[in-house]
């Protein structure tokens, strides 16, 4: 048996390699640099790495390759767009992660222990979070451009493992945070198992793990359809878990609530882009010819997800849980883009992912600002009268909520319009009607928060809004400006996306 050296196209892989290299240097910084310098060095290193990677992605945007890593990675227009979106969102979130007070001083210490106390006294900061973020980003970059099931699985784990850890790093309410991390990890492990199970069936069906090979079998139609169905169903479960679609959503409210808010922001926005990116690729290329088998199922899940997310969000009293259920509803809207299975659907989904991701990071960034003496306050009852005390912060938050609700002149409206019109065009009228109705339901709880902030008089134990640091300010301002710009004049971005939104196979 001879060993053939793999041929790697380093140019195509460079955005990921840059991020991985940055992560490794970050680990070295942790090991060798003094405590005092770490935060600033890590921040510069992380942002620099991500920017460099972003530049590199833009430089290779025209290249298309099916064989970048021996057929395991495919780079094309959508791949470029999704990677760029992930990187931009990550950069915005890193400023939020860098800011704060949010992380525990010593992750290894038992909550409430002497060690922990001592560590807080010393003013320690967990700077491990930076390399962890970079590892997660590298996984996310790989996820939507994987082109065989094994690479897809590796990418899935690579993006998930750092996130499991990061979810447990909260400074306050650490038990809740650790519980969230454990829950996320266990359910994530289950979904990985489902995914692998499905992958095995797909291999059984086609005798191949590469997307191209499976697609050929689907097109040829010679295999055992039962295997195909089981394979599609279980791979879908794994992916639907990551995007938080009903009935695989159970983890997301707890994790959103328990994780440090900055991590929640990053996770909610960037993971969604990566996971939907991979879903779009699989359904648009691999399973496209087996549309009959998954469209009804996915349509059902989309409708349930939208309605469930919107209805349950009404009952939430915690702003992070409310945003979690709102993100479930948004996952339903995004599934409409997957179901559309046309070019308009692909462009619309990518636009929506980016617009929603930016608004999500912005909204969570505002959440980190609302505090009392014991830290962030996420109980909505204590947000009353915020509009009076801090009109600017409250107005910006209200604007993000209006964007989630899809009010015209925000990015959310353009996203909703384009995704629904794509779904309608493909004949999924039921999904569109369910989407419109659940938008109306969703409007109710977004508006309720606005009422709380602006039209309700505040309690005595009023919360204060801390003056945002420069870093958080960058996050909020960037998110706000992008959300406004995409609402008022989205044409350049839509044209840009349209230019690139074609999968190569």
């Amino acid at each position: 048996m001879t060993f053939t050296a793999p041929v790697l196209n380093y140019t195509i892989l460079s955005p990921m390699l840059i991020v991985l290299a940055g992560a490794l240097i970050g680990v070295l910084v942790e090991a060798f640099l003094g405590k005092a310098f770490r935060p600033i060095v890590q921040l510069i290193l992380t942002v620099g790495t991500l920017l460099l990677s972003l530049v590199q992605v833009f430089r290779i945007r025209e290249s298309e390759s099916l064989s970048a890593a021996m057929g395991s990675v495919v780079f094309d227009g959508p791949g470029f767009l999704l990677q760029a979106a992930i990187l931009i969102i990550s950069i915005i979130s890193v400023f939020l992660i860098a800011d704060n007070e949010n992380f525990t001083a010593l992750a290894a210490a038992i909550p409430g222990s002497v060690e922990e106390h001592a560590s807080i006294q010393q003013g320690n900061k967990v700077t491990e979070v930076y390399p962890l973020t970079l590892f997660a980003v590298a996984g996310m970059l790989l996820f939507p451009i994987s082109s065989d099931l094994i690479t897809l699985f590796v990418a899935l784990e690579m993006l998930s493992l750092p996130l499991y850890l990061m979810a447990g790093l909260s400074r306050r309410r650490r038990l809740l945070s650790q519980e969230a991390a454990l829950k996320y990890f266990l359910l994530g492990a289950f979904s990985s198992a489902f995914f692998l199970f499905g992958a095995a069936y797909l291999y059984g069906y086609s005798g191949d793990i590469s997307f191209a090979g499976i697609r050929d079998s689907v097109v040829g139609g010679s295999g055992n359809d039962i295997f195909l169905l089981i394979g599609i169903a279980f791979v879908s479960v794994g992916l639907l878990f990551k995007v938080g679609a009903v009935p695989f959503h159970a983890w997301s409210p707890d994790v959103y609530q328990g994780a440090p808010t900055a991590v929640t922001a990053f996770m909610a926005a960037a993971t969604k882009i990566a996971a939907f990116g991979a879903m779009l690729r699989i359904y648009y290329t691999v399973f496209a010819n087996a549309q009959w088998s998954w469209t009804p199922l996915l349509s059902g899940i989309a409708i349930i997800t939208m309605l469930f997310g919107s209805f349950v969000a009404i009952a939430q009293r915690d702003v992070k849980r409310m945003l979690a259920y709102s993100s479930i509803a948004h996952a339903g809207f995004l599934l409409a883009g997957v179901i559309a299975l046309n070019k308009a659907g692909l462009s619309a989904s990518i636009f929506y992912l980016f617009a929603y991701g930016v608004a999500t990071v912005g909204a969570f960034a505002v959440v980190t600002l609302v505090r009392d003496s014991s830290g962030e306050v996420t109980d909505l009852n204590r947000w009353t009268g915020l509009g009076k005390r801090s009109p600017w912060v409250a107005s910006v938050f209200a604007f993000f909520l209006l964007a989630f609700a899809g009010i015209p002149l925000t990015s959310g409206f353009i996203g909703k319009f384009s995704i629904f019109s794509a779904a309608y065009e493909s004949g999924a009228k039921g999904v569109v009607i369910a989407g419109v109705l659940s938008s109306a339901i969703a409007a109710f709880f977004y508006i309720r928060v606005i009422v709380l902030m602006f039209f309700t008089d505040s309690h005595e134990d009023a919360t204060t809004v801390v003056i945002p640091s420069v870093l958080t300010r960058i996050t909020v301002i960037f998110s706000f400006v992008i959300t406004v710009a995409l609402g008022v004049y989205p044409a350049p971005l839509i044209d840009f996306i349209n230019k690139f939104a074609t999968f190569i196979r």
């Binding site: 002149l409 909703k416 319009f417 109306a440 009422v451 602006f454 839509i494 044209d495």
Partner: protein, 504 residues
């Protein structure tokens, strides 16, 4: 400088920007700037109306720029007779509202300047919604204008203001989202017939199956019926009108609700002529119910603001009936009615607002004998009431008469039942007039002050317009008629010849 709709929309926005730059403390300057901007906008509109070619049925002051080309969305605006009249009404009402409600912003949650920024933004969007000739642009204005109104009611109103604001917003959003589904439907269908577009003209040429047309029609119609509001979609209006400040109520009932009836003409009728014919009988019935129901509930109201709100439901019934009667008189009458209703409601609400702020109560039985204490205010209220019940010689009479005549030729039964609405109108106006203005002076009313000079100046143009158009409506009708006839003939209707009873 060339007059254009874009300029007209930019002016209030400019005013709002100047206000935003002002320091909070200077409330008086904020009011003056708001008054100046709205006044300037009104002048520009009048100049545009003068330059409008009345006999030209094509859209005028047309502008079109690409906005989101990949979806075929344009920033496209233009005027026909109907939209011109409504924009004229909006921009004339705005300075009157600012002047009349000079102190309205005092009890608000936020500063005076925020109040006027919201008013100016609302004015800009109202102009846009009437001027848009691109359905997408229309929708953007239609939905976005909810936001300033929401904050105007919730932030500056009285009583259960936040609940009323939320109710208003949710009702409107629900309707708006149904309309969005219909707009998406139109967009997709246009894509299969010569390319994606939102141009109203192009969309009216689409071929659709009757089922599709009916469904899309309903999406639009329900949104407009909630906005207008037509029975049974009206329940948000009394609460909103009750809690909003008088000036906001004028803009809400006078301008915002007209978007509903305007939308019926511009979109329901022209885009879905077949579906319109299918649903016309149902809509006529709903209109008649609105007329009678609104009138009966108005009679039963103890609160003066709610009373005015219910009279408006009755009046909107007349407007909708005129629109769907599908005769040129009915249509002209309905459009003229929209204009006149704006001013007669303004008169009622503003005078009622002054009465309420002086007395500190909005319950009709708390007033009494105002005729002797505050003669000018009493006369103003009496006049506003007469205008609302369509006394001959005042502007509403002309439009109500046209609507009834136009309806009678096609739906005589509906017209006859609707005529009872006029009788009921006399009741719901004369009862509060009698209770509030006449009789002995109720305790607590002895020292009420009469209208100030500012208030007199504010109400004077309303009175002049109502009387002038009552005697001489033809300047407006000449603008409206060609557009109305055009809509009717596009629908394939011709006016039925009047039949003579027993003339066989």
């Amino acid at each position: 400088m060339n007059l254009s709709l874009t300029l007209l929309m930019a002016l209030p926005l400019l005013g709002a920007a100047v206000l935003a730059a002002l320091p909070k403390a200077n409330a008086l300057l904020a009011k003056q700037i708001a008054l100046g901007s709205t006044f300037l906008v009104a002048l520009v509109t009048i100049a545009m109306a003068v330059g409008f070619e009345r006999d030209n049925i094509n859209l005028q002051y047309v502008e079109s720029h690409q906005w989101i080309p990949s979806f075929g969305i344009n920033y496209a605006v233009g005027l026909d007779g109907i939209s011109l009249v409504l924009i004229l009404m909006t921009t004339l009402l705005a300075p009157i509202v600012v002047l009349a409600g000079w102190n309205e912003s005092q009890n608000g949650r936020w500063s005076t300047k925020t109040f006027y920024i919201l008013i100016l933004v609302l004015e800009m969007m109202a102009i846009g919604v009437f001027a848009a000739t691109d359905v997408f642009l229309f929708y953007v204005f239609f939905e976005a204008m909810l936001v300033p109104v929401y904050f105007l009611i919730g932030g500056y109103g009285t009583g259960e203001r936040s609940a009323a604001a939320v109710k208003f917003l949710l009702y409107s959003l629900f309707g708006g989202l149904l309309m969005l589904a219909s707009i998406i439907g139109l967009y997709v269908i246009s894509g299969t017939q010569g390319g994606h577009t939102f141009d109203t003209q192009a969309l009216s040429q689409l071929q659709m199956s009757s089922t599709t047309q009916n469904l899309l029609f309903l999406g639009f119609f329900i949104a407009f019926a909630i906005k207008a509001p037509l029975w049974p979609f009206h329940t948000w209006l009394p609460d909103a009108a009750d809690c909003a400040t008088p000036g906001t109520s004028v803009l809400l009932l006078g301008v915002l609700d007209k978007v509903g009836t305007f939308g019926m003409i511009r979109y329901c009728l022209t885009l879905f002529p077949e579906a319109t014919k299918t649903f016309t009988p149902t809509i006529i019935v709903l209109s008649v119910i609105s007329i009678i129901y609104g009138a009966f509930l108005a009679i039963g109201q103890k609160d003066i603001k709610r009373l005015i709100a219910f009279t408006s439901i009755s009046h909107f019934g007349f407007i909708t009936m005129g629109i769907f009667a599908m005769t040129s008189q009915g249509h002209s009458g309905a459009t003229l009615y929209m204009f006149n209703h704006g001013f007669s409601t303004a008169a009622l609400f503003l005078v009622a607002g002054w009465m309420i702020s002086r007395r500190g109560s909005s319950i009709i039985s708390d007033f009494g004998g105002l005729q002797r204490v505050t003669p000018v205010m009493a006369w103003a209220f009496f006049f506003a009431g007469m205008s609302s019940l369509a006394l001959p010689g005042l502007s509403s009479f002309v439009s109500e008469f046209l609507v009834l005549v136009g309806t009678y030729t096609r739906y005589p039964v509906a017209a006859i039942i609707a005529t009872f609405g006029i009788v009921l109108a006399a009741l719901y106006i004369l009862i509060p007039v009698q209770r509030a203005l006449h009789g002995p002076i109720t305790a607590g009313n002895e020292n009420l002050s009469d209208l100030t000079l500012r208030e007199r100046v504010a109400i004077a143009p309303v009175v002049v317009i109502i009387i002038f158009l009552g005697f001489y409506p033809s300047p407006l009708l000449k603008v409206i008629n060609p557009a109305a006839t055009h809509v009717i003939s596009q629908m394939g209707f011709s006016d039925p010849a009047p039949t003579q009873l027993g003339g066989k």
